[in-house]
C-alpha cells in the first residue's frame, strides 16, 4: 500500500485538499478530533506503527476473504468482442467492498482508544459492514439511517441488529442518506471525545477522503497484479460505478499514475439529468457529470445544488448511489481530465443487472449494474482489455429490481410474471 502512495503527490497537497477540493468545513467542536484522526492516520495507516496495517491485512484476509478474484467474463468477452474481466468485490464478506473501509476504521478507532463507533448508512450496506466490523472487534456501535431507508431496507436493519448494533431512524427531511449523515455529525459533535465516526465513503472533511481511499485502494492494487498475471499487461480501461465514490477511488487509485489506463466513473443518470430547482429535486445522482462546486458535509466538492446554494434531493434506482455530493478527489481527477465522468440511466442499469445475472451467473448490486450498463453502451470506446469492478452483490436489490422491471419494457429482463407464481 505505501509504495503506491508516493506517486500521487502531484495533485495531493498536505493541507487536506485535492486541487481546489477537500478541506475541513466542520463545526469548531470537531476540529480537534479531526487533528487527532489525522495524526492516527499518519502513524498507523501510513507508517504502520504498532503493526496496524499488518493486522488490518491479516483480518481482511481471514475475516473478510481477501484477495477477491479477478475473473474473465467469458460470455461478456464474446458479446463485446474484447477481453472483459470482472473484479469480484461482491465476494467480499458482507457482499460488497464496504468492509474494506469499515474494518479499517473500526480497527483504527480501537488503536486510538475510542470506546464507541457511530456511522451513517443509506441503503444499509455501509451500516451492515460497520456493524460486522464492530462485532468482530468488540466495539459498541450505533448506526443512523433515514426513516425512509429503514422502511425500504428491512433486511439490512435486521442484519445490523443481529450483529449487535443499535439502529437509530432519522426522521428529518426526505429521511435518507443525506439526513443520516447530518444526524451522525450531530452525534459526533456531542460525543467526539470517546467516539469515532466511521464515514462510509471518500467524502467528508480531511482526512476521511484519503483515509477511506487508502483502505479501499486494495481493490485496484489487487487488480493491477491479477491482470498482469492473467493478461500479461495493464488494462486499456477500468470502469467503476460512482456515488460517493469509495469503490471508484478504491479501484482507480493504483491506476492514476498509469496514463495508458483510461478510468471511467459511471454515475446514476436516474430518469433525467435535469435539476428541478423549484422543488429542490434532481432525478439523478450524476454529481461528477452535472454538479457545481460547493461545500457539503465538510468538504469542497462537486454537488447537486440549486443556484442559491440549497442542496437538492438526488435520485437513483440504486440507493447506494443516491447522494448529492461526491468525493473531493474524484472531483479533482475529473477536472484535470484523468477520470472520465459518465452516467447510465435507471433503465440501462436494470438491463445491466439482468444481463450479468443471465450471461455470467452473477447477480450484481444495482450500483455495480451501472458500470455494466456503461460497458454495454460504450464498449467500443474501452479498448481490447477492460476491467469492470463488481462492487457488490445484488441479493439486497431483488425486490427493487422486480418492482422496477415490472414497470418497464427492458430488453435484458426475463418474464417477471413467473417470479410470483
Amino acid at each position: 500500500m505505501s509504495t503506491e502512495r508516493e506517486r500521487d503527490d502531484e495533485y495531493e497537497s498536505g493541507g487536506g485538499t485535492f486541487g481546489d477540493y477537500g478541506g475541513q468545513y466542520v463545526p469548531e467542536a470537531l476540529m480537534p478530533a479531526l487533528q487527532e484522526l489525522e495524526d492516527a492516520y499518519e502513524r498507523y495507516v501510513l507508517e504502520n506503527e504498532d503493526g496496524f496495517m499488518d493486522e488490518f491485512r491479516d483480518r481482511m484476509r481471514d475475516f473478510g476473504g481477501r484477495p477477491t478474484p479477478l475473473q474473465r467474463a467469458d460470455r461478456l468477452s464474446e458479446r463485446y468482442d474484447r477481453e472483459v474481466y470482472l473484479k469480484r468485490e461482491d465476494l467480499l464478506h458482507g457482499g460488497a467492498h464496504k468492509l474494506n473501509n469499515a474494518l479499517g476504521q473500526v480497527l483504527l478507532a480501537k488503536y486510538m482508544g475510542k470506546e464507541r463507533i457511530i456511522a451513517e448508512t443509506g441503503a444499509g450496506q455501509h451500516g451492515t459492514a460497520t456493524a460486522m466490523a464492530a462485532a468482530h472487534l468488540d466495539m459498541p456501535c450505533e448506526i443512523y439511517m433515514g426513516r425512509t431507508d429503514v422502511n425500504r431496507q428491512r433486511p439490512n436493519v435486521y442484519r445490523m441488529r443481529m450483529n449487535g448494533a443499535e439502529v437509530n431512524p432519522v426522521e428529518a427531511g426526505s429521511a435518507t442518506l443525506k439526513e443520516a449523515i447530518n444526524e451522525t455529525m450531530r452525534d459526533w459533535a456531542t460525543t467526539v471525545e470517546r467516539t469515532h465516526y466511521v464515514i462510509g465513503s471518500v467524502v467528508g472533511p480531511h482526512p476521511f477522503p484519503r483515509m477511506v481511499r487508502d483502505f479501499q485502494a486494495v481493490i485496484g492494487e489487487e487488480i493491477r497484479d491479477q491482470i498482469r498475471e492473467k493478461a500479461g499487461r495493464l488494462p486499456d480501461s477500468v470502469v467503476a460505478c460512482a456515488g460517493g465514490g469509495s469503490n471508484t477511488m478504491g479501484t482507480f487509485h493504483a491506476f492514476v499514475p498509469d496514463e495508458g489506463v483510461d478510468l471511467y466513473a459511471v454515475e446514476a443518470g436516474g430518469s433525467s439529468l435535469e435539476i428541478d430547482e423549484e422543488n429542490g429535486m434532481a432525478p439523478n445522482s450524476a454529481t461528477l457529470s452535472t454538479g457545481t462546486d460547493g461545500v457539503l458535509h465538510g468538504a469542497m466538492t462537486k454537488l447537486l445544488q440549486a443556484g442559491d446554494g440549497q442542496i437538492v434531493e438526488s435520485h437513483s434506482v440504486s440507493a447506494g448511489l443516491d447522494y448529492a455530493g461526491v468525493g473531493p478527489e474524484l472531483s479533482h481527477l475529473v477536472d484535470i481530465g484523468r477520470v472520465t465522468p459518465t452516467n447510465v440511466d435507471d433503465d440501462d442499469a436494470l438491463n445491466g443487472f439482468h444481463r450479468l445475472s443471465r450471461l455470467e451467473g452473477i447477480i450484481p448490486a444495482l450500483e455495480s449494474s451501472h458500470a455494466l450498463g456503461y460497458l454495454e453502451e460504450e464498449h467500443d470506446e474501452l479498448g481490447d482489455l477492460v476491467v469492470v469492478n463488481v462492487s457488490g452483490r445484488g441479493d439486497k436489490d431483488l425486490e427493487t429490481v422486480l418492482e422496477e422491471t415490472e414497470k418497464r419494457d427492458l430488453e435484458a429482463a426475463p418474464e417477471i410474471e413467473v417470479f410470483d407464481g
Partner: protein, 289 residues
C-alpha cells in the same frame, strides 16, 4: 443601529461592551414567514436585545439541534431566499445591530461563481454588522475573513469546549466582534441547566481581551444570571425563542411573548452582573456601561 463610538472597534463590540451584560437573541428568518420575522425581530429589540442574530436557512444544518432544524425547515418551506433575507434586513429598523448566521455554502453560492465576496458586499449594503458561520473553522476562514475586513463586517468564531492550546490562540487571533463561547459539546437547543464546560471555557478565555458571549442551551433568565456571574459579557439565546414561535397558534401571538422573554433574559443577565458588583473577589472585573 447603535453608534460606533471611537473606543470600540465595531458596532458589535460596542453593542456588547456598551450594554454590559449583553443579551444576544437568535431566530431563523422566514419562520414561518419573512413578514412575521420582521415583527419578531422588532419585539426582541424592544424586549432588550443588544444584538440580534438572524439565521439564513440552509438545507443541511449540521450544527443545529431539533428546534432550529425545524425552524429552518419551516423557513425553507415558506420559500425563504437569500435575496428575500437581505430585503428583510433592509426593512428592519432596530436599536440592536444585526448579524447573519448561515452555513458556508450559502455564502459561497450567492454570486454567479463560488466566491464569498458577493454575499459579504450585499450583507454590508443591507446593513448587517457581522457574520457567523457554524461550519467554517478558523483554518478555512481566510477568504471570508479578508472579505469581511474589506467591507467593515465582523466575523464571529465559535469557541468549543474542545478548543484549547494552540488552536485556541489560532482561533482567537481571527476573532472580531465577540467570541461565541459554545457552552457544551453537541448541537444548539434549550437545556435545563448551565453546563460545567461554560465555566472551563470562560476561564480559558479570560486572558483574551475580546467580549465573550455564551450560547448553546441557554433558555432562562436564571441561566443568563449564572453565565454573566461566571464572567461572560453576554448570553446568546435561540432555541427557547423558537419554541415560543413554534408553539403559537397564530404567528402574531408570538410577538408579545418574544418581547417578554427577551426582557426576562435581560433582567436575568443584569441580576448576574449585580451579584458580580456585590462580590467582586472571585470573578473578573465586569465591564460597566
Amino acid at each position: 443601529m447603535s453608534d460606533t463610538s471611537s473606543e470600540y472597534d465595531s458596532d458589535i463590540e460596542a453593542a456588547i461592551r456598551g450594554n454590559h451584560p449583553a443579551l444576544i437573541t437568535y431566530i431563523t428568518a422566514g419562520d414561518p414567514s419573512l413578514e412575521d420575522t420582521k415583527a419578531y425581530v422588532e419585539a426582541l429589540d424592544r424586549g432588550g436585545s443588544d444584538l440580534i442574530e438572524l439565521g439564513l436557512p440552509f438545507s443541511e444544518p449540521i450544527a443545529e439541534g431539533q428546534t432550529i432544524q425545524a425552524a429552518i425547515n419551516r423557513a425553507l418551506a415558506a420559500g425563504t431566499t437569500p435575496e428575500g433575507f437581505f430585503e428583510l434586513v433592509e426593512d428592519l429598523e432596530t436599536e440592536a445591530p444585526l448579524l447573519v448566521m448561515t452555513y458556508y455554502n450559502m455564502i459561497l453560492q450567492y454570486g454567479s461563481e463560488p466566491d464569498v465576496r458577493p454575499f459579504v458586499e450585499r450583507a454590508a449594503e443591507a446593513g448587517l454588522s457581522g457574520i457567523i458561520v457554524p461550519d467554517l473553522p478558523a483554518e478555512e476562514a481566510d477568504p471570508l475573513r479578508d472579505a469581511c475586513d474589506d467591507n467593515g463586517l465582523d466575523l464571529i468564531f465559535i469557541i468549543a469546549p474542545t478548543t484549547e492550546g494552540e488552536r485556541l490562540d489560532a482561533v482567537m487571533s481571527r476573532v472580531s466582534g465577540f467570541a461565541y463561547v459554545q457552552a457544551r459539546l453537541g448541537t444548539t437547543g434549550a437545556r435545563a441547566n448551565v453546563s460545567g464546560a461554560t465555566y472551563d471555557s470562560l476561564a480559558r478565555l479570560s486572558k483574551y481581551d475580546v467580549p465573550k458571549a455564551v450560547g448553546f442551551g441557554v433558555s432562562e433568565g436564571d441561566h443568563a444570571a449564572e453565565i454573566i456571574e461566571a464572567g461572560a459579557d453576554g448570553v446568546i439565546v435561540g432555541s427557547a425563542l423558537i419554541d415560543i414561535i413554534a408553539s403559537s397558534d397564530d404567528p402574531s401571538d408570538a410577538v408579545d411573548a418574544l418581547e417578554a422573554k427577551a426582557a426576562e433574559l435581560k433582567r436575568g443577565a443584569r441580576r448576574g452582573a449585580e451579584t458580580l458588583t456585590d462580590d467582586p473577589e472571585d470573578t473578573p472585573e465586569p465591564e460597566q456601561p
